[in-house]
Amino acid sequence: MSLAQKYPNEVNQIMAKYPPEHKRSAVMPLLYLAQREEGYVTKDALKDIAQMLDITETDVASIVGFYSLYHDHKAGKYRMQVCTDLPCALRGADKFLADLCGNLGIQVGETTADGLITIEAVTCLAACDKAPMFQTQGPDGIKYHENMTVDKTLELIEALKSAGKEVK
């Protein structure tokens, strides 16, 4: 099913916001819409958006690839995106990331066995002075976690786990 078939009202609303000659600007909100359900933009959705906006799939993929907020592959329930750019690295982000992964027994880019957490390394999230830091992306939206330690992070993960159970 195409995006327009799946979310006709929202697609129309988004498209209406941009003049036809600048319709390519609708790419960002459409990408959000596209990854709402699965947590990532599928190949078909990518094609679909390119066609709708009369740009190439490569153009759309470039945008997905540029922003840490868009994803082109499936992940766990929460993405934990640790900034490892230079300023954060100077405040120990690299070590933090390595220790965290060690504790969880996974590598960067992998997902915990229970499907809850995927660890990713990303570039600057504009909280350089509060490193080590990461953002989580999950069903409850995007959240910043600053001045983190591995212990604090493991606590957070426990909390996320039980939160999931409560919902069930």
């Binding site: 990518l46 740009i55 190439t56 799939e57 490569t58 153009d59 993929a61 470039s62 997905v64 690839g65 540029f66 750019d85 570039t123």
Partner: protein, 819 residues
């Protein structure tokens, strides 16, 4: 005229037009500012920081608006930090310093950063030896890196972006030249960046990968060895290569090219072509070429090459072959019919025509497209340069798919539209150029002539055409055969003549011919013939540079009616199999000569590799036969033949081979010393060619034919009409022998309207059988909702012989069951 500004660069005073970038102003003054991301053909991007320089500007007194003086000189204020020469335009009194300590430090720093994750695999890199990164590092680099070797970013090194171009992600320095070329210049954004920072990498998601016929150009302008062609990859080192100037023989654009050759053990110690590169001619192809021209040269090395004459299919000596041909021609004289194609050079065609005329025989041009007599009268005037067309000018492209037929014209016309020219694209279907058209006209098949005639009405488009400062019309044979295209040409000529867009530069008619030198063949007096079967009947047929039997079974049948067949070609074909005598010809890579482009520019090509076997040049063979028949034809030198041609063909009067070899300074400056600037394209040292004048500009009477009211066939209610269209990568002799292109050539595929497909019960990718002209064939199906439901588009030279629109029976075939 644009305002001129004067500035000082490293103490040298330079005066340049307002708006010039500092980097270009320096280049004009002979000062090299190193760049990676900047390219003189594209908008500046400012993302590599290699071009940092010190820039100072005169201090202006706010109150008076005058320059503040200091010791009798204007006071110059330098910016505290270095500035990018590629993004700053010049201003009056600017002072630029490119050799200071600060600048040297800046360059060192930039290179150190660029090299932090560079693999430094120059010894095995195709670019090594002509690599801007390598050269600029040697010149400006720090020599030592402070970065940790173990922390290099590793990325994929052998990524096929489709089957023609390979990407090495570690070598890429993220200059975005390739992305910008595809986006800005070509208008096909099939390359992009993914991710950020040190992970930034090139991606292409098109299907097939890197889906553009201009892809090879990105490897020329890539300042590192990140983009290489599958053809040349690991093929040779640049310093081993010799360069020979040539002209592309694949389409009427006539791109100037360079053959890079070397002697090779793999080829038994022979000299072989390793790659084809563009050669600068700003009025023809600028510094670009298309992938067909770049990759489809392998036919000259094909195993099918003819290397020795045959008589009745048995190997023979040249003497025996010449004897038999001469005797036969002598005995039959006016019964001799010469059928030649626009694959041949002007000299070949001139000698063949002289031979036919000397015998009182007939000379026929092998083509399905007419109108070449009109381009000689109202063609584009001398000095025409599509690169000069812009605001106020109009370009009409009718019945032609320039992207598939003459790619570099597509590029040039698209850019003219970008500069503000009014582009009118008229066709019976969607073509790629339409996206850039101000007016896209879709006519019904059969309405071609009417559509052009309507451009003389009072419509807005008609007005715009009439009032254009300059107007150029490209006409082709998309959906048309000989008759239809000839009539369309007449309509276009009339439109141009009536609106006074003839007889001057940047105005006139251009034929989008099916072969590179069709225009030259028309100039030499060859004319097409609709009914080849009658023309062959009981005749002595001398076929040169054409494979009618292979192209069309009906023509094979027609040839059976001939009394005697002589075939002269470079490759073995179905037609050579039918010949009484076969004469092996040299490929154009093995000899010199000239072609006349669609813009009627006469250009020289030179020999690049040694002759295959006993092959002789076409003009020399025809010349020898002529001599033996007592005609005074030249049989030795192509250039002497050209001089004779110039002395007898009116439009060539006054030309000689030296004039064709003249060059003049061109912008941007390219060449081996300027690789970092324009890329690896070759500088033109061998000639820019000369454009022929038209009858209209010589003030001679122009006599245009009546535009016939009858039009090309239209589809009828109860039947489907098969109409021919051109595909760039087809199964033609000169393309199919390049294995690399097999996938792009693909299977014979016809296009149907969705409704027609539905009625026939087939979907995209399904199969149909077609029956027409007493033949039947199968083809794959493509759906095109822009065509009429009554037509089937059939690609030329793909094994389905449709030379004219013809009624066709189509049946949907059930999918073969996959077990």
């Amino acid at each position: 005229m644009t305002k001129q500004l004067t500035l000082t660069i490293d103490g040298v005073q330079v005066t340049v037009p307002e708006g010039t970038l500092v980097v270009d102003a320096a280049k004009m003054a002979g000062i090299d500012i190193p760049v990676f991301c900047y390219h003189p053909k594209m908008e500046p991007a400012g993302n590599c920081r290699m071009c940092l320089v010190e820039v100072g500007r005169p201090v202006i007194d706010r109150a008076t608006g005058q320059a503040v003086m200091e010791n009798g000189q204007p006071k110059i204020q330098f910016m505290p930090k270095l500035e990018t020469a590629c993004t700053n335009t010049v201003s009056e009194g600017m002072v630029v310093l490119t050799q200071t300590e600060k600048v040297t430090e800046g360059r060192k720093g930039t290179l150190e950063f660029l090299l932090t994750s560079h693999p430094l695999d120059c010894p095995i890199c195709d670019k090594g030896g002509e690599c801007p990164l390598q050269n600029l590092t040697v010149e400006h680099g720090p020599g030592k890196s402070r970065f940790l070797y173990d922390e290099k970013q590793h990325l994929a090194k052998h990524v096929p972006l489709g089957e023609l171009i390979w990407l090495d992600r570690e070598r890429c320095i993220q200059c975005a030249r390739c992305i910008r070329f595809q986006d800005e210049i070509v208008g096909e954004a099939v390359l992009g960046f993914e991710a950020r920072g040190r992970m930034t990498q090139i991606i292409s998601l098109s299907e097939p990968g890197f889906d553009s016929v201009f892809s090879g150009n990105t490897s020329d302008i890539c300042p590192v060895g990140a983009l290489t062609t599958a053809d040349f990859r690991f093929g040779a080192r640049p310093w081993e290569l010799k360069a020979s100037a040539s002209i592309c023989s694949q389409c009427p654009v006539g791109c100037n090219t360079t053959f890079n050759t070397r002697r090779e053990a793999k080829a038994g110690g022979e000299i072989v072509i390793k790659r084809v590169m563009p050669r600068q001619n700003e009025e023809v192809n600028e510094i670009w070429m298309c992938d067909k021209g770049r990759f489809a040269y392998h036919y000259a090395e094909s195993a099918q090459r003819l290397v020795k004459p045959t008589v009745r299919q048995a190997k023979a000596s040249w003497t025996d072959a010449f004897d038999l041909v001469t005797q036969t021609f002598e005995a039959s004289k006016s019964d001799v019919v010469v059928l030649a194609s626009g694959r041949l050079s002007n000299e070949d065609l001139f000698n063949l025509k002289s031979l036919a005329d000397g015998l009182g025989g007939k000379s026929i041009l092998y083509t399905d497209m007419g109108g070449g007599n009109l381009t000689a009268q109202v063609g584009v005037g001398q000095g025409t340069d599509l690169g000069k067309l812009g605001k106020g000018d109009t370009i009409l492209v009718v019945a032609s798919d320039l992207y598939e037929e003459a790619p570099v014209w597509y590029l040039r016309v698209k850019q003219a539209a970008d500069r503000g020219a009014t582009l009118i694209v008229a066709n019976s279907r969607h073509t790629k150029l339409e996206r850039f058209a101000r007016y896209a006209i879709r006519y019904a098949n059969g309405d071609e002539v009417k559509t052009v005639a309507d451009l003389q009405g009072d419509s807005k488009i008609a007005q715009e055409f009439a009032n254009a400062q300059n107007a150029v019309v490209f006409f082709g044979s998309d959906g048309l055969g000989l008759n239809g295209s000839a009539n369309l040409a007449a309509a276009c000529a009339k439109l141009l003549q009536d609106t006074k867009h003839v007889g001057k530069a940047n105005n006139g008619l251009i034929g989008v011919w099916q072969r590179a030198n069709d225009q030259g063949a028309w100039e030499m007096g060859f004319r097409p013939e609709a009914d080849l079967a009658s023309a062959f009947k009981n005749k002595i047929v001398y076929i040169v540079g054409a494979d009618p039997a292979g192209d069309d079974p009906a023509l094979a049948l027609a040839l059976k009616g001939a009394r005697f067949i002589v075939v002269q070609d470079i490759l073995e074909t179905l037609t050579t199999h039918m010949a009484d005598v076969v004469l092996p010809a040299q490929a154009y890579t093995e000899r010199e000569g000239t072609y006349t482009s669609g813009e009627r520019r006469v250009q020289r090509f030179y020999a690049a590799v040694p002759v295959h076997g006993e092959a002789k040049a076409d003009f020399a063979i025809a010349g020898e036969i002529g001599r033996r028949l007592g005609l005074n034809t030249e049989n030795g030198s192509a250039m002497v033949t050209f001089d004779r041609l110039a002395a007898s063909v009116k439009d060539f009067a006054g030309l000689d081979t030296n004039k064709l070899a003249e060059v003049k300074p061109q912008w941007p400056i390219v060449g081996r010393g300027d690789l970092y600037y324009g890329g690896t394209t070759y500088e033109n040292k061998q000639g820019l060619g000369v454009q022929l004048s038209t009858a209209a500009e010589r003030g001679e009477a122009v006599s245009l034919p009546e535009v016939r009211a009858e039009s090309a066939l239209r589809p009828r209610e109860d039947q489907l009409l098969a109409v021919p269209v051109t595909k760039l990568y087809d199964r033609g002799q000169t393309v199919a022998s390049t294995e690399l292109l097999t996938q792009r050539i693909g299977e014979p595929t016809v296009s149907l309207h969705p409704e027609t497909a539905k009625r026939l019960g087939v979907a995209a990718g399904g199969r149909v059988s077609l029956a027409f002209n007493g033949l039947s064939a199968e083809a794959l199906v493509k759906i095109d909702d822009t065509i009429s439901a009554g037509v089937v588009l059939v690609p030329r030279s793909m094994g389905l012989a449709v030379r004219e629109p013809v009624s066709v029976q189509v049946l949907g075939l059930a999918e073969a069951k996959v077990s």
